[in-house]
Amino acid sequence: MITSPKKGIPAFISDCTRWALSGGIGFKVYLVVLLAVIGVGAFSYVKQFQEGLIITGMSDIVSWGLYISNFTFFVGVAAAAVMLIVPAYILKDKDLHEVVIIGECVAVGALIMCLMFITMDMGGPLKVWHMIPGIGLFNWPSSILTWDVLVLNGYLALNSLVPLYILYCNYHNREPVGWKYKPFVFLSIFWAVSIHMTTAFLYQGLPARPFWNNPLLGPRFLASAFAAGPAVIMMVLIVIKQKTRYPVDINIFFKLKRIIVVSAIINLLMLFSEIFKEFYTFTHHSLSAQYLFFGLEGHDSLVPWIWTAIGLNIFGTLLFSFDPTKCNPRYLMVAAISLFTGIWIEKGFGLIIPGFIPSPMGEVVDYTPTSNEILITLGVLATGVLVVTLLIKPALAILIRYKESNA
């Protein structure tokens, strides 16, 4: 893999492309599978584009569904990179500094998924220029959606440019210059919190929907994201440890585990607080929670999902809290997957759909995504996985080469 040192941007791009795509037969198969899923998703999207959102399971009552649920969850995953950035850059933690780049790659992939989900959900995607300030009409600061557009794109820029600069320096066998990127690192820390709070405010700021109109929504978003995000990063690190020769120290897993445990416990505490408020004194405003947890007027499509999610949540938290194997990668993988899946269901489906049920006029309907909608969603998820893969591979190649030449 190590080539003779070349210089300049064209060499950087061509080497990165080569590193991104090189790999054994297993890797090739993996890429083909991802591309196939993306292809099927794209095909389904063409159908949606032609016929309209009528091919989804959404209606005037449940007017946001699978797309916005996933969008909401992956904003959380994106923000989780900050849980590596703070210790790595601010607390000067050597171990986490080794893997901070992976957190940033995951953030970029998650953000691309978020922006794609938003686009998939739009009735007029070709009119998106109406939102661009200057040529369009940007309802800022009144509409929280415009804030979200700003913070998401800003965070994407920060999380792409900082690692790009560091890798570009390392590629040319140089130490990155601190003052050139450190200010942006600090900025990205606050920015990560802001993408969360803003996305929560999208829902939290609507008195029309009592289920969302709850001041705990934003903080709970943060807590769940800081558990689910590092869980994703841990999954990626386990794969890297097993499939590449990039050294991932066992200490990194210990530290990530500690972050996850604290966040997951705070998340469960807040969940308990919400459940208490909804059910201790049952009001009209608790109907959505009733629908979610127990079903309402015979409609109970979310009930099995939410209890599965809570089960996985508690199970994952317990696995992380009491780890008898002392960071055995297989054990951690199971723990990470269960916590991640639990929060995914709970923060996605479990948060968005019940906000619409019952409707402001008291009507209760179920929402079931159509196969088209599911295929489009899978296509977006595969795109995210592909982006993360194709970013991490050259990044690791550059870091390995840089380390070896400076050893």
Binding site: T56, L206, A208
Partner: protein, 320 residues
């Protein structure tokens, strides 16, 4: 007769998903009134069949501004383009207005709960007047049937399907309340929906990107989304249209009650108030001290729905 009318008026979203098999025959029977004004790129599909004139008009339509930023000249131009596009596509002439709000007018509405018997003539008139999508059975107005002792549509039946009047039941009509402090317009990321000086909350269909944030923000379920391409039989299209009102919508945009802007700005009553056989609907200018609506507000016991949300609706309920 009443019951068949009601069947037509039923809002059943699931119907349109289940009835896909009958769609083909439905489409054969009806000529599809596709959205003449939508940007050509968005509708897509039949590019080769379009004349170059149509392509050119659609191109100009795609790049036009938000309605509120247009000069009067630009407003006239877009209306002319939309009329021409309709002619090219449907071979019919429509008259589209862009009439501005009148001075010293603020529209308000009052609904007499003790008089309404649930006939649903208002719903039917609204569907016809406003060119509402027949395929999705879109309704701006909904009537909720309630038991005595329960004055809350959320506990009522919005899908009743039987002969009226019924002993010991009463009815509440709900629609967009044209709030002064409207959560929907605040939520819109592109300023595609706003409150006009005469109090009507409108949507610029061509500017709406279809994010549906306004729908989530509305506490009264006053907004409707075009999930598919709306369809109206050619012979039933109301040709007297307004840019901000009942002109043909396209898929992927929001729409809502406009207090029949195409009628009320000409001094007429909205279609629902005109059609009501019981006189339960009172519409008028809140700034005119001699208007009937002012009389109702002064002399009757009135209340507004979900007053605690501070939306300040321009729609009151009253009891004789």
């Amino acid at each position: 007769m009443k019951s068949s009318r009601k069947k037509e008026g039923q809002m059943k979203i699931k119907d349109m998903l289940e009835n896909k098999s009958s769609r083909r025959s439905f489409m054969k029977k009806l000529s599809i009134a596709a959205a003449a004004g939508s940007a050509g790129l968005v509708t897509g599909g039949c590019g080769s069949l379009e004349s170059s004139e149509e392509m050119g008009l659609k191109w100009e339509e795609y790049f036009k501004k938000n309605y509120r930023l247009m000069t009067q000249e630009e407003k006239d131009e877009t209306v002319a383009r939309l009329e021409r596009l309709f002619k090219l596509r449907m071979d019919e002439n429509i008259q589209m207005s862009n009439q501005e709000p009148r001075e010293n007018v603020l529209f308000g509405y009052a609904f007499n709960i003790s008089r309404c018997k649930g006939y649903m003539d208002c719903v039917e008139a609204c569907v016809k007047e406003n060119n509402l999508d027949r395929k999705a059975k879109t309704q701006y107005i909904r009537l909720f049937e309630m038991e005595s002792g329960k004055l809350d549509p959320t506990s009522g039946d919005g899908k009743y399907h039987h002969e009226v009047p019924v002993e010991n039941k009463f009815y509440m009509g709900v629609q967009c309340y044209h709030c002064e402090n409207s959560p929907c317009t605040k939520a819109c990321p592109t300023k595609a929906t706003w409150r006009e000086p005469d109090g009507i909350v409108v949507v610029d269909y061509d500017w709406c990107i279809g994010c549906r944030y306004c729908l989530a923000a509305c506490p009264y379920w006053g907004r409707r989304f075009n999930w598919g391409e709306p369809e109206v039989p050619k012979e039933e299209i109301n040709k007297k249209q307004h840019y901000l009102g009942n002109r043909m919508r396209m898929k992927g945009v929001m729409e809502k009650c406009t207090f029949c802007v195409q009628r009320t700005r000409q001094g007429k009553q909205p279609a629902c108030a005109d059609a009501c056989p019981t006189g339960s609907r009172v519409f008028g200018n809140l700034l005119d001290p001699d208007s009937e609506i002012r009389y109702v507000l002064k002399h009757k016991k009135v209340f507004r729905f979900k007053e605690e949300l501070g939306t300040d609706p321009k729609f009151w309920y009253f009891i004789d």
